[in-house]
Amino acid sequence: MTSLLTIDDLVVEHRSPGRPVVRAVAGASLTVRPGEVVGLVGESGCGKSTLARAVCGLNPVTAGSIDFDGQPVTPLGLRRRKLTGIQMVFQDPYASLNPRRRVGDQIADGLRTARDTATSPADLLERVGLPREFAGRHPHEFSGGQRQRIAIARALAARPRLLIGDEPISALDASAQAQVARLMRDLAVESGAGLLFISHDLSVVRLIADRIAVMYLGKIVEVGDTAEVWANPRHPYTRALLAAIPQPDGLGVLPEELPGDVPDPASPPSGCRFNPRCPLVMDVCRDKEPDFGPVACWLHEPK
């Protein structure tokens, strides 16, 4: 199957005066196929959000390419956007919804983008599991989980072929997280759209994603089918991430610790980016960067 979104060797740099250039995304490649859910995970500061913003055209691309349906993604400007096939659900629904407009009107913006006159905002509210009459209310009348559902309804209104969720569940209550994540998955798959789901919560990603991509310091270090990555993580970083999740099994096992912090992306270590923290570090890791896939690690070099 052809891919819907192709990210090829993407580099995104943040420049600010008087400071060194920060390479937030340093050569990442990823594809999303129609109807597929890809989970992107990694620690904070690894560049996941920058990657998502670049895919939407919210951050300018320094090098590499992002193709959506065979067309390059251009930076978002003030003009009318043709590329409405990509829609994003942001992290904090308290900030992403306009507090002074009725939620029905905000959803109608999405419908207008897609030139959809048959659907009403109430229909979309129904699809995300909210009562139809909520369309006349304002965002402050809703809880966090409900607001995020409204944000999802607004994104879906534009009939996206690719939905991007940038940590859409991390601002929600634990009891609402799994529900909202599953809702996003169901709605995206139902409409045949791809979903790029970014989260640092691996247990949720495991639940909804078909494939997992693990990102570390601007690079994708491992990609694979969710079940496979979960059962047999190959990159030492993926292993460390999975081992650090505390299990609610009541046994009192302390999770494994990964020593050290994510290095400053302005001055990444030489060789493999994970080498200063890697428990299995070899000599070659300090000199040469493993730039192959699906597992970017010298222990798993393709023959």
């Binding site: 919560d201 495991r206 494994e256 990964l258």
Partner: protein, 257 residues
Amino acid sequence: MTLDITGLRVSIGGKEILRGVDLRLQAGRVHGLAGESGSGKTMTGLATLGLLPHGARTTGSIRLGERELLTLPPKELNQVRGGRIAMVFQDPATSLHPMLTIGTQLTEHMRHHLRLGKAEAKARAVELLGKVRIPGPEEAYGRFPHQFSGGMRQRIAIAIALACSPEVLIADEPTTALDVTVQAGVLRLLRGLCDELGLAVLLVTHDLGVMSAVADEVSVMKDGLVVESGPRGRVLREPEHPYTRALLDSLPDAELR
């Protein structure tokens, strides 16, 4: 030293937030407090320190050893607060003062509560920074919070809480703002300190995985009431209350188990 909370009721503006909470913290044990947001977990922690918002009405009893904290005059409460009961908050980016060096923040209350001199306080602060495993404690002493990562900041916040050798530590969602890998380190640190110093820890968290990793006893709160309380293994493996069961079932990997 034990901290006993019995029949704690808190109402703010006529609305009852806590409706009779009973908890018992023991030295060297971690007591986990779980529940959804709005269930009153944080309020219980704040009530223990007398940090409730203005106009809050409190009844019931909170006893630290033989002392009743709820009726303590403000002056005496100030000696307990920070001195014998300390708190670690959720977000180290906002709980540390951005314009004071961590050295200042580590020594200020030590000099007040323990009446230490400047040099003594500094020596103890450096020792504490070493204890919470901040690399290069001597240099770190003079730095500002923004020069540390999130995990380091939370370790510093823990060091500040421990500075006056408290008997009770209240940790309100101490790892919620952190990544899993960093969280693992902070949890190990908390557990180690609890065992080593014989602290009584109240760990407020909504994450049942975190709860399972470090807590000895678990209490589950709902709508201002403790609905279930017991040893970790029993509450998480054989929950008696339907609400605890519902919480466990709502976890992402519940259906995969």
